[in-house]
Symmetry: C2
Subunit: 268 residues, 2 copies
């Protein structure tokens, strides 16, 4: 079957894209099939995985999946990494917000597309037992694109930067998740919160970590992602950190996070 995780936080620059790319790669590295859905019109996850911007390189894209003119299976593209594919995004995705807001479309086509994809995977599974993970990289907003992701997801994975403003938007995010659970998707829960850009030398990091663990307890993964310049460099080579520098702290942290995510999934 499918297991869909929305990687979401409306605070900008907290490591959503970096987590979708590298957690996705780490899950694939331990044998789990993964599809990343790039739901940000900036298309950072697509670029970070080396998908070009030429005329057809991103077609069909997430836009066509939301407009229901292409299926997930048609839009998912190989990344060169075994078991990892991505449904890429282009700037055209920006237009959908206006279309949905004006009420022209069913607002939740991503949910339907994933249900169809699950059936497709099932039919082609040839007895493959492994769960396919779908990681949805959300834009920094609680807009109609992120609501689509929350309505389609089984759970939410929330990256939180170890910086002062980290806690500010959390109440809004939790309220939005609860709204979507009540109205659209009764199964939706927070799988976990991952601390990112953690810097042991920095007092602010420890303050934020203490606050976040006090407030959210068990929800916060034991694994945190250290601030590591190799992680920031890797997308410029179109590669996840595990390929760019698999020995560095960033890679080890994402491999650890992958095993913690799998463990939590198994406990459900």
């Amino acid at each position: 079957g499918l297991r869909v995780l929305a990687v979401a936080n409306q605070k900008g620059g907290v490591g959503k894209t970096t987590t979708a790319i590298n957690l996705g790669t780490a899950l694939a590295a331990v044998g789990r099939p993964v599809v990343i859905v790039d739901l940000d019109p900036q298309g950072n996850a697509s670029t970070g995985l080396g998908i070009g911007k030429g005329p057809d390189e991103r077609s069909p894209s997430t836009l066509e999946v939301l407009l229901e003119t292409a299926s997930m299976a048609q839009a998912a593209k190989p990344t060169g990494i075994p078991l990892l594919s991505i449904v890429p995004a282009t700037g055209d995705l920006m237009g959908i917000e206006r279309e949905f807001a004006a009420g022209q479309h069913k607002v939740y086509p991503l949910r339907n597309a994933l249900i169809e994809y699950a059936a497709h995977q099932q039919a082609n599974a040839e007895g493959q037992a492994k769960t396919t993970y779908v990681l949805i990289d959300c834009p920094p907003s609680l807009n109609v694109l992120t609501i689509n992701a929350l309505s389609a997801a089984d759970a939410v994975l929330v990256p939180m930067q170890c910086e002062f403003f980290a806690m500010e938007g959390l109440a809004q995010l939790v309220k939005t998740i609860n709204d979507v659970r009540d109205r659209l998707n009764p199964a939706l829960s927070i799988q976990g919160v991952v601390l990112t850009m953690h810097d042991k030398r920095n007092r602010l990091t420890h303050e934020v970590e203490e606050n976040v663990r006090d407030a959210l307890g068990e929800k916060v993964y034991a694994t945190y992602i250290p601030r590591n310049v190799r992680v920031a460099e890797s997308p410029s080579f179109g590669k996840p950190i595990l390929l760019y520098d698999h020995q560095c702290e960033g890679s080890r942290a994402y491999i650890e996070l992958a095993s913690e995510v799998i463990k939590r999934e198994q406990q459900l």
Copy 2:
């Protein structure tokens, strides 16, 4: 008169709020009256300037200004810093997006509110010659809130992080600025692009800086803002960096940026 700058970039976490707060403070420090408009439902600029979250501490807020139930003059609150005030934001601002998108309101109330404010300033100026700067802190999205800011602004100030994804969203931002100029606000231009979180020790910083200066030339300010942990700490004390640690590199950079902004304004 008024001079309105929208601090905008849909890429998240690039230093929009940090620049609005600290450039605003630096302009006030050299005798220019400044009003910051917090246009982000997360309210980071309001929190970073020490505005509490108690029941009335942020009322009226930016929401009431957009709904035209309060004027800018009524909503602008003192910050404790001479010549610097802020129109604060609350999470309720999120609801406006749905209201605007559904076509219930004139889409550009911020522009009207600022025209009215300019008249108000003029009437109360008692011969004060100085221009009042209005800095609008935009959310990380090209949504109806940011379009409001662009329709109300004289120019745009674009913070760009010295990281790989920095250039990715630029084309979309420039296209949106051009669209707003053609349809709504013929005077709109880019005042400048400021490089943020610049780290001399980091190869990626130099690569990005070279790319950005090649692509945008004169538009890029000579001043860049260094990555400096004191800058990240200051909002946790509800203070701008100039008050928290006026000797540090971050403070000096924002003071330099303020003089460069003023110089550009004078050349117009």
